[in-house]
């Protein structure tokens, strides 16, 4: 890969300033998206701003109502956190399905959602739980955060600092991975909040994470597999590649949503 200037700022503001100053810089957290992309020659940032030295950039706090995960927290820490396992077990399990164990030691929640890969897992948890993405400038609801394929609502100078997940009554994450890459061919996060409202968030199947309103309405009325009878996701507009057709993905959305409802806890 091409060479670059390397920085290791101690604060978020310093990081944002360095990026602004650079000709075409990138943030680096876990590096397991950026570095492979650079190795393939698909990215060559002028500057790399390493966020991992920022004080207090990682950590998990669990309150009565929310699980707050700081942006620099590695997936492995979410997997092994007893507090997260107790509050939102589906979130902890989901983090354990990202990549492989070595990737999980370095990959971060901030890096994952800032990237908005259509086949990533965290976007489904964010939208499925109705999370709030907290940046150094504002709070963004998950529903407005993921705007397109590899696109987010983040503005210039904004860095994600944490993600706050409201604790649901019950939830589940079901994933059918691309067996080669381990990314989601289809991933579904289903959650029922304290008021009984249900969200169904899907990654892997479309150009970005999306919700399935018909399924949400039916499950809100009755949180049971039988409520989904006769409701099928539509294949139109879904991703199509050598590993899965749009039709197959539509079918898997149904399968995984049903399994999520059965497994929700």
């Amino acid at each position: 890969m091409e060479n670059f200037n390397y920085h290791r700022p101690a604060t978020v503001n310093a990081a944002a300033a360095l990026l602004k100053k650079s000709k075409g810089g990138s943030y680096l957290a876990g590096g397991h998206t950026l570095l492979p992309t650079m190795k393939q020659g698909l990215a060559s940032p002028s500057d790399i701003i390493d966020l991992t030295a920022i004080k207090g950039f990682s950590g998990i706090t669990v309150t009565k109502s929310a699980v707050v995960i700081k942006a620099g927290t590695a997936h492995m820490d979410v997997v092994t956190s007893a507090a997260v396992k107790k509050a939102i077990p589906a979130l902890s399990e989901m983090a354990g399905k990202i990549g492989d164990v070595h990737v999980r030691q370095k990959g971060t929640i901030g890096g994952s959602i800032a990237n908005s890969d259509p086949a990533a897992d965290y976007p489904s948890a964010c939208v499925g739980l109705g999370a709030t993405i907290i940046t150094n400038k504002r709070k963004i609801p998950a529903d407005s955060f993921f705007t397109g394929m590899f696109q987010t609502a983040l503005k210039d100078g904004e860095i994600i600092t944490a993600v706050s997940f409201p604790i649901p009554k019950k939830s589940s994450h079901q994933k059918f991975p691309n067996p080669a890459s381990r990314y989601a061919l289809v991933g579904v996060f289903v959650a029922q909040d304290a008021a009984g409202k249900v969200r169904v968030a899907v990654t892997g199947a479309g150009p970005k994470v999306f919700r399935v309103p018909e399924m949400e309405a039916a499950l809100t009325k009755n949180f049971a597999v039988s409520a989904l009878a006769g409701i099928a996701a539509k294949a139109k507009g879904l991703n199509q590649d050598m590993h899965a057709t749009a039709e197959y993905r539509a079918h898997l959305i149904g399968v995984l949503t049903r399994r999520a409802v059965e497994a929700a806890k």
Partner: protein, 154 residues
């Protein structure tokens, strides 16, 4: 070319690298420790796995400059005073290697699996957690047996 320093296998080392130099290249070229291997370019095969500050990580997806001050352990550093680590011994006793190319990364990953999961780690967990290490020779059968065997002695 910035200078970096870190501890590798317990010894303080330093060198001049480019910012883009990967940790695996620093280890193999600057330090001449060629036990850690490169097997792919998509961060999937695990032949490059080392321990950084106690965690098993792919050294091909880590910048050397980002390891300033870190403690790195490679395959060359796990035997103590000429005595093989139980995982190395287990791979030998269970015929857990054939061509040997994936073996250093496989051993480093396996040590980490046992560390995190404990002595009674199940076969299912071992197989799942070896997802980040590809072997073309053994079919994994004896590797899994080796990990289970070593777990009891670690």
């Amino acid at each position: 070319m910035p200078a970096i320093s870190m501890k590798v296998n317990g010894k303080a080392v330093s060198g001049n690298v480019e910012n883009r130099t990967l940790l695996v290249d620093f280890i193999r070229t600057n330090l001449g420790l060629t036990g850690t291997h490169v097997g792919c370019d998509t961060s999937q095969c695990g032949a490059c796995v080392v321990h950084i500050d106690g965690k098993a990580v792919k050294s091909c997806t880590t910048l050397a400059v980002a390891c300033e001050g870190a403690e790195v352990t490679t395959i060359e550093g796990i035997a103590k005073n000429g005595k093989l680590h139980p995982m190395q011994q287990a791979f030998h006793e269970n015929h857990g290697l054939q061509c040997g190319f994936c073996t250093p990364g496989m051993i480093m990953a396996s040590i980490d699996i046992v560390k995190r999961n404990g002595k009674k780690v199940s076969e299912e967990v071992i197989r799942r957690e070896l997802s980040g290490n590809i072997c073309r020779c053994t079919g994994y059968h004896n590797i899994v047996a080796a990990v289970q065997s070593a777990a009891e002695k670690m």
